[in-house]
Symmetry: C2
Subunit: 186 residues, 2 copies
Amino acid sequence: MVLSTPIRSLSEFLKLPETKPASEYIDGVIVQKPMPQGKHSTLQIALASQINLRGEPQHSAYAFPELRCTFGGRSIVPDISVFNWERIPLDENGEVLNRIEIVPDWAIEILSPEQPTTRPMDNLLFCIRQGTSLGWLIDPQERLVFVFQRDRLPETRTGDDRLCVLPAIAEWELTVNHLFHWLRFG
Amino acid sequence: MVLSTPIRSLSEFLKLPETKPASEYIDGVIVQKPMPQGKHSTLQIALASQINLRGEPQHSAYAFPELRCTFGGRSIVPDISVFNWERIPLDENGEVLNRIEIVPDWAIEILSPEQPTTRPMDNLLFCIRQGTSLGWLIDPQERLVFVFQRDRLPETRTGDDRLCVLPAIAEWELTVNHLFHWLRFG
């Protein structure tokens, strides 16, 4: 699931071709993300779409799935990276940059079956220490979400608990049950 | 790995015979802990012994492996529960009680391969919200320790990082490398 290769520098790592699933550079080690499966993939696209449905019309926030973010000595690919609109990194034509070198405002990781939670959790803690204001660790198997915020113990959210979202889309009322309801088809 | 059985009340659960591995009662669900394997077992006994080597002579703290602790509506069995000496629950003969109904001062969970991290992490967060002052989540595979303390974001400790221990044995200098070194035999 997680393959570690010999240590290279971050700049060397960034010159390597991208892999599928994406690889991350963490404390001198290259780690490949697990291959996304059904529930992971469904939650990733459903959640990112729902965030954008709320953030895009009012130009307040935008969610990117599988976006490489390089900052603070790591190069990571959160399952979903959400930026407040004014922080989306743009080039001179107003188009999104390819190389993202700032922290997302909201980072979301979705666990895959049998994937150790350790790596995604450590990446979320890293993001928050680097300036991300909100982190979610979603466990589809246990139907719970850990919510990470600065200087606070993470909170466990289950059932009808309302989930804390980015202030930019604060009017959105999303519960844990609602989130996992997106897994149901037909 | 994790088996959920139909919902019973906590008092009903406490009347059931103990299982091996132990079962926990969490939010109306009964969950059996994974069967401990080599690394888990080694770290559990080594760490508990080392804590007692420091805490017992000076009557400052004592570590119990696999102790059922029932409080705040859950009945859980941390891999190691450490109590400050004066908080060890005793009967009229000065012997330790069988039924422990207070929070440990320091709760330690050690991950097993392929065990979801979610349950032990949620139990640690629960302990801390209920009054436990220190929590460790040890991942032998990734060689890291998450350290949980009240009103703080968990910290990731690796390599030569020194681990925060209970104030009762604060003179103990233990690094992450040292901890995982106990896995080596011969």
